[in-house]
C-alpha cells in the first residue's frame, strides 16, 4: 500500500473530491461573472442591461466567497483531521450528510440568484453578498444559506467526533497541529455564524415570507457584520494552515515553531468576532465608543497575522538553507521556485502583506471615512480573499488533487504559469482599484461615470485605471482557464504509482514546547464568548432600544407591489434630475475637512 491519501483513506478521499469539485464549479461560475462585470464596469464591453449587473455581482460574490472558499476548506479540513489523527472519520454516512446539506443549500441560493436574470420566474435575489434589508431576496435565497451554514456546523461536529474518539485512545498526547487548527477555526465559526443565523432566522426569512411586517435595517446589518468579518478568517485560517503545515515542507524544511502557530490560532479564535462593527464606522445609530472598541480589537488582530508573517518567512528560510541557500538574502534563490505549489503559496503570502497595509488603513476608524465603500475596499479584499486565500487554495490543489484522485498532475508548467499569471493579473487589478478608491470611485456600481461631475486623478487618469482593471480581469480569467485545464486534465489521467507520500511539515520547535494551556479549547472558547458579549451586548441593546426589535415601517425592496410604484416614481425623479444637472467638472482640491 502506498502512502498516498486516497490509499490511506479511500472513503474520505471521495468526500474531499466531491467538496473540491463543488468548490471548483463555484470558482468557474464566479470567474465568468467576474470577467463580465469587470468589462461592464470599465465600459469595455457592455452586452447586458446595467440592472443585470447587480445580479451578476451577487452571483460573483456569493459563489466565490461562500461556495468556492467554504467547499474547498471543508475538503482540506477533512484531510487535516484524518491525516494528523491518522484515523478515518467516525461515520462516512454522517460526512456525506453534511456535504449534501451544503450542496442542497447553495444550490437553492444559487437558483434564487440566477433566476434574477429572467422575468419568466418571479424570483430574484439581487441583494449582493451583504443582503442589507430593506433590500429583500426571495425566501429560497435565505433558506439556502441557512442549510449551507448548518451543513458546515455538522461538518464541525464530524471533526470534533474524530478528535474525541482519538483523545479517548491517546489521552496524554498533544492535539496534532493540523487538527488543533481545524478545531479552533470551527469554534470561531460557531460563534461567528450565530450572528447571521439570528439575522436570517429571526428577521429576514420570516420577513421575506410575509410573517413579519418590518425589520430594523440597522439591527440586521449589525448582525450580518457580527458574522461578516469573522467569515473572512474562516477563509483565511485554512490558508494560514497551509502556510504553517505545508509551505515549510515544500520549501524543503520544517515549521519554525509549533507553539507560536497554536498561539496564532488561539488569537484568531478569541479576537475574530468582536470586531465586526469596524465595517460600520459610518453607520448612524452606533455610538463612537462602540466603534472604538471594535477598532481596538481589530488592531490587536494584526498580531496573529504579523506573527504568521515571521513564522512563514522563517520557515521558508530554514527550508532554503537546508537546500544549500546562503547569505542574508541569497537563500531566496535556493527556494523551489519551479514548484507551482510553493511559488503559488509564496506569491499569495506576498500579496497578503500588501493587503495587510491597506487593511490597516481600513481599520483606522477616522481614516476609514476616506475609503469606506470606495473601490479601495474592493482592491483590498481581492488581495485577501482573492489572492491570499484563492491563490493558496489553487496552488495547494496541485498537491491535493493527486492525493485525493491518485492521478498525477496533468501539467506542472501550466500550473506554474497559472499562479504567476494570477499574481500579475491581480497586481494590475487591485493596484488600480486601490487608486480609484482614493479618488472616491464607489464600489458596487454598474457604471461609475456620472452626469454632473468627473473623478479627478492626481496621477494618471480614470481611463488608465479602467484599462488596468480590465487587463487584470482578463489575465485572471486566463489564469482560471489554465487552472481548470489542469483540474480536468488530471481527472482524465490514469492512476499513477509515482505520487509523493501524504504528509505535512514537522516542526523545529515541536508541540512539546507549547504550554499545555494552549490546548485547553474550553478556556479559549469561554474567553472568546466573553469578549463577544463585551463587544456586542451594548451595541445591540442600544440599536434595539433606539429603533425597536422590528424597526420602523420600511418597504421591502424590490419584491412587493408597493415598491414597484416607489421605483417608478424614483426613476422619474432620477431622470429629471439628471437632465437638469449640467456637465460641469468639479475642479477644487480637497478643501472639505471633516471636524
Amino acid at each position: 500500500m502506498s502512502n498516498v491519501y486516497i490509499d490511506q483513506f479511500p472513503a474520505e478521499a471521495k468526500v474531499i473530491r466531491a467538496a473540491f469539485y463543488s468548490s471548483f464549479l463555484a470558482l468557474a461560475l464566479g470567474g465568468v461573472f467576474g470577467i463580465i462585470q469587470t468589462l461592464h464596469r470599465t465600459d469595455f464591453l457592455r452586452f447586458m442591461d446595467s440592472v443585470d449587473y447587480y445580479t451578476v455581482l451577487t452571483a460573483h460574490g456569493v459563489f466565490l466567497v461562500i461556495s468556492f472558499t467554504i467547499f474547498f476548506l471543508v475538503g482540506i479540513f477533512t484531510w487535516a483531521v484524518t491525516t494528523s489523527l491518522d484515523r478515518g472519520l467516525e461515520d462516512i454516512r454522517f460526512t456525506w450528510g453534511w456535504y449534501s446539506l451544503m450542496a442542497i443549500g447553495i444550490t437553492m441560493t444559487g437558483v434564487a440568484i440566477l433566476a434574477g436574470f429572467t422575468d419568466a420566474i418571479d424570483m430574484s435575489a439581487s441583494v449582493l453578498f451583504t443582503f442589507y434589508a430593506p433590500l429583500q431576496a426571495h425566501p429560497l435565497f435565505y433558506l439556502g444559506l441557512v442549510l449551507f451554514v448548518v451543513g458546515t456546523w455538522v461538518a464541525g461536529v464530524d471533526w470534533f467526533r474524530s478528535w474525541w474518539a482519538w483523545k479517548a485512545e491517546n489521552p496524554d498526547e498533544r492535539i496534532p497541529l493540523p487538527t488543533f487548527m481545524v478545531l479552533t477555526t470551527m469554534l470561531m465559526w460557531y460563534i461567528a455564524t450565530l450572528g447571521v443565523a439570528a439575522a436570517i432566522l429571526l428577521f429576514l426569512l420570516p420577513w421575506s415570507l410575509g410573517l413579519i411586517e418590518t425589520v430594523n435595517p440597522l439591527l440586521t446589518r449589525t448582525l450580518f457584520w457580527f458574522f461578516g468579518h469573522p467569515v473572512v478568517y474562516f477563509w483565511l485560517m485554512p490558508a494560514y494552515m497551509m502556510w504553517y503545515v505545508m509551505l515549510p515542507k515544500f520549501s524543503g524544511g520544517k515549521l519554525f515553531s509549533d507553539p507560536l502557530a497554536r498561539v496564532v490560532f488561539v488569537l484568531f479564535l478569541i479576537l475574530s468576532v468582536p470586531t465586526g462593527i469596524h465595517h460600520q464606522y459610518l453607520d448612524p445609530g452606533i455610538a463612537e465608543g462602540f466603534k472604538f472598541i471594535a477598532m481596538t480589537n481589530t488592531m490587536f488582530l494584526l498580531l496573529p497575522s504579523l506573527l504568521t508573517a515571521f513564522t512563514v518567512v522563517a520557515s521558508m528560510e530554514h527550508g532554503a538553507r537546508q537546500r544549500g541557500g546562503e547569505g542574508y538574502f541569497g537563500w531566496l534563490k535556493a527556494l523551489p521556485w519551479r514548484d507551482p505549489v510553493f511559488t503559488g503559496m509564496a506569491l499569495a503570502g506576498l500579496m497578503f502583506a500588501a493587503a495587510g497595509f491597506s487593511g490597516m488603513i481600513n481599520a483606522g476608524m477616522n481614516i476609514n471615512y476616506l475609503v469606506h465603500n470606495t473601490f479601495w475596499v474592493v482592491g483590498h479584499f481581492h488581495l485577501t480573499v482573492g489572492t491570499a486565500v484563492a491563490l493558496t487554495f489553487m496552488a495547494v490543489t496541485y498537491w491535493f488533487l493527486p492525493q485525493v484522485t491518485g492521478k498525477a498532475l496533468w501539467s506542472r508548467s501550466v500550473a506554474l504559469g497559472q499562479v504567476v499569471v494570477w499574481f500579475v493579473g491581480m497586481t494590475f487589478m487591485s493596484n488600480a482599484m486601490h487608486r480609484a478608491g482614493l479618488l472616491g470611485v464607489p464600489r458596487r456600481t454598474a457604471e461609475p461615470q456620472y452626469e454632473g461631475f468627473e473623478f479627478q486623478a492626481a496621477v494618471g487618469s480614470i481611463g488608465e485605471l479602467d484599462a488596468q482593471i480590465a487587463l487584470g480581469g482578463v489575465l485572471l480569467t486566463i489564469s482560471l482557464g489554465m487552472f481548470f485545464a489542469n483540474v480536468v486534465g488530471t481527472a482524465l489521467n490514469g492512476r499513477s504509482d509515482d505520487l509523493p507520500a501524504n504528509e505535512y511539515a514537522g516542526a523545529l520547535s515541536g508541540p512539546d514546547d507549547a504550554p499545555l494551556v494552549l490546548d485547553n479549547l474550553k478556556l479559549w472558547t469561554a474567553i472568546a464568548v466573553v469578549l463577544v458579549i463585551f463587544a456586542y451586548t451594548f451595541p445591540l441593546l442600544s440599536i434595539i432600544d433606539r429603533g425597536g426589535l422590528f424597526g420602523p415601517e420600511v418597504i421591502p425592496f424590490p419584491l412587493t407591489v408597493e415598491s414597484a410604484t416607489t421605483l417608478g416614481f424614483a426613476l422619474e425623479t432620477a431622470a429629471s434630475t439628471s437632465f437638469e444637472s449640467a456637465g460641469e467638472i468639479a475642479t477644487s482640491a480637497l478643501t472639505a475637512v471633516m471636524r
Binding site: 433590500l135 454598474a446 461631475f453 472639505a592 471633516m594
Partner: protein
Amino acid sequence: MNVHTYEKIWLVAAMVLIVAFIATITYGSVGLGIAMVGDQQPTIEPTELGDDERFGEPRVEQVGENEYEAYVVAQTFSYQPDPIEVPEDSQVTFYVTARDVIHSFSIAGTNVNTMAIPGEIAEMTVEFDEAGEYGIVCNEYCGPDHHNMEGKLHVVSADEFDLTDLSADGPDEVAVGDSVDVDVVVENRQLEDLETTVTLEIGDETVSEEVTVPGGDAVETTLSVDSSALGEGDHDWTVTVDDHDSSGSVTVLEELDDDADGGEDDE
C-alpha cells in the same frame, strides 16, 4: 515555551506598532477633534419624513454667523435638495437620512462619507474653505438604478450665496383698466436682514419696491401695474429679487367674464 530571540523582538515590535496605530487614531479623535458619525441623533420614521420639521422640506439653513445646517434625504435614486448650495468659509452640519433603503451620502474625493440608513439620522460637521463644486455619490447598492444616483454640492463665494426664496402669484385675466396685482413672498432663511429690491417687469412696464426681509422671516408685498398701459392681449411678467426670478402671464381682456378669475401662476 521556547520562543526564539528574533521572534521575541518581532513580537515586541508588532505590539508597539499596534499600540502606535491605536494611539494615532485616539489622538485624531481627542486631540484634533475628528468626530465620527455616531448615535447623536434620535431615530425617525422613514415613511413619515414628509411631516418632519427638518426633513419635510430638505434644505440648507443658517444657524450661526458662518454656521449652517443641511437636511438631506437620500432616496432611490436621488438626493434632496439637489444641488446643495453652501457658502465658502462656512461650517456646515449635515443631517442625512434615507427614505427607503440604505444609501450613502459621499462627497467624491473627500472624507465626507456616511451611510444613510432608514430610521436613523447621520450627523457630521464639515468645514468648507474654498468655493468649488463637488459630486455626491451613493456608494451603497440601493437597487437597479443605483449607478445613476448622484447629487451636487456647490460651495459658492460669499457674495453669490443667499438663502432667499421667492414666490409670486398673479391673476390669469384682468379687464382693461383694472390693475394687475402680483403678490410676492420673499423668504430669507439667513440670519441677517436682507435689504433688496423686488422688481416686476411686464411688457414695457417696470415697477419696483425696496424691501427689508428680517432674518429667518418672510415679507409679502403686492406690485401693481395698470392694465391700460399694457393693452389687450397676453403679457408675460417676471418678478426678480437679486438672482432669483419667478414669472407668469396675464391676459388683458376688453371685458372680464364674472366667473373667470383667479388661477395660479407660480415658478
